[in-house]
């Protein structure tokens, strides 16, 4: 058993049932628990934060208002006036992903956005919504989206196939981007953390050497905070852009 010196960087993404026998019988993993916590935190922020209703907001109220305003402006800017209709959806998506990314950085926590099943589920939801909205607004005219105006008709089999593949690749790229960023960050944390432990095993010189990976992990934490916010933003903005395409067709 040489388990002492192997780096198990992917073990952190394994799912375990929580809440004892009840959780085991319904398959309630720590991932599901983090999702519930994220939802509760979001609702708590909005309810508790806005309960003061102060003209000059306090810290919690300012946080809730800024979050709301930020997503609201993003919807209006990217989609246009119709964006108001999609605001609840985009807001839910954004806060869910943002809290998932950020809470995953806490020790003993779990990042549910590091599972492709979760991110692809979210992306599939987005693409189904976009397609349904486009069909509802434009009817069958929506299919002209796959054939740009002015292209030679002889090329239509090629262009339409390529456009359809490109359209279908949207949810895939959306989900892979979020999932890959989260996994990469957490694997790097784990690898550098193992270096610290390994160094410490090498005696006094190792203690000094362990400072290097420790400092790297500190820097990495700052970087991961940026990535967590950025990826949630990118996901939300791309959702808005796809919704814009669906509403306006180009």
């Amino acid at each position: 058993m040489a388990a002492e010196h192997t780096i198990d960087a992917l073990g952190q993404f394994e799912l375990h049932p929580v809440l004892g026998a009840v959780g085991r019988s319904v398959g309630f993993s720590q991932s599901s628990m983090m999702m519930v916590i994220a939802a509760v935190l979001t609702i708590a922020l909005l309810v508790v934060g806005m309960s003061a209703k102060a003209v000059v907001p306090g810290r919690l109220q300012a946080m809730a208002e800024m979050l709301y305003d930020f997503v609201y402006k993003m919807c209006i800017e990217q989609i246009g006036e119709e964006g108001k209709k999609f605001f609840p959806f985009v807001f839910t998506l954004f806060t869910f992903i943002l809290l998932g990314n950020l809470m995953g950085l806490l020790p003993f926590s779990f990042t549910y956005t590091s599972h492709i099943a979760v991110t692809f589920g979210l992306a599939a939801m987005v693409i189904v919504l976009v397609t349904v909205v486009a069909l509802a607004i434009h009817g069958l005219h929506f299919f002209s989206y796959f054939f740009p105006k002015g292209a030679p008709i002889a090329l239509s089999p090629l262009i339409v196939t390529v456009e359809i593949i490109s359209y279908l690749s949207r949810p895939v790229s959306l989900s892979i981007r979020l999932f890959a960023n989260m996994v990469a960050g957490h694997v790097m944390f784990e690898v550098f953390a193992s270096f610290i432990v390994m160094m410490a095993g090498a005696g006094l010189v190792g203690y000094l050497g362990g400072v290097g990976p420790l400092a790297l992990n500190v820097i990495l934490m700052g970087f991961e905070l940026l990535v967590a916010c950025l990826q949630a933003y990118v996901f939300a903005v791309l959702t808005c852009i796809y919704l814009h395409d669906a509403v306006h067709l180009h």
């Binding site: 105006k149 196939t161 593949i165 690749s169 960023n181 903005v237 814009h244």
Partner: protein
């Protein structure tokens, strides 16, 4: 306030606009906004390009594979769709990098 720039005939609003433009006080027109890819780093762009290329290829291979098992033509449709997927990936990248140009020409 003597009209130094010669266009005394213009209204106050016009002259104000000209003066502001000269001083660079007005924000440049937000024409070249694009879909909010303002502060993207070179690394961010590189990652996005990679993801776009790969995801189009993945989708195309999945379609090709499925069509092949549907029509019992095993490698041929897969081969065709790998090429189409590469083309779709390049088109994704093209859209990502120059969204405004292609939209303006239409």
């Amino acid at each position: 306030m003597s009209g130094k720039q010669g266009d005394d005939g213009g209204s106050f609003e016009d002259r104000l606009a000209v003066a502001r433009r000269k001083q660079g006080l007005d924000a440049p027109p937000p024409a070249a906004g694009g879909p909010a890819k303002g502060g993207m780093s070179a690394m961010g762009i590189g990652l996005r390009v990679g993801v776009e290329l790969v995801s189009a290829l993945v989708v195309a291979i999945a379609i090709g594979w499925w069509l092949d098992s549907f029509f019992h033509t095993r490698p041929f449709l897969l081969m065709l769709f790998v090429l189409l997927g590469g083309a779709a990936g390049l088109m994704n990248v093209w859209r990502l990098l120059m969204p405004k140009d292609s939209a303006a020409k239409k």
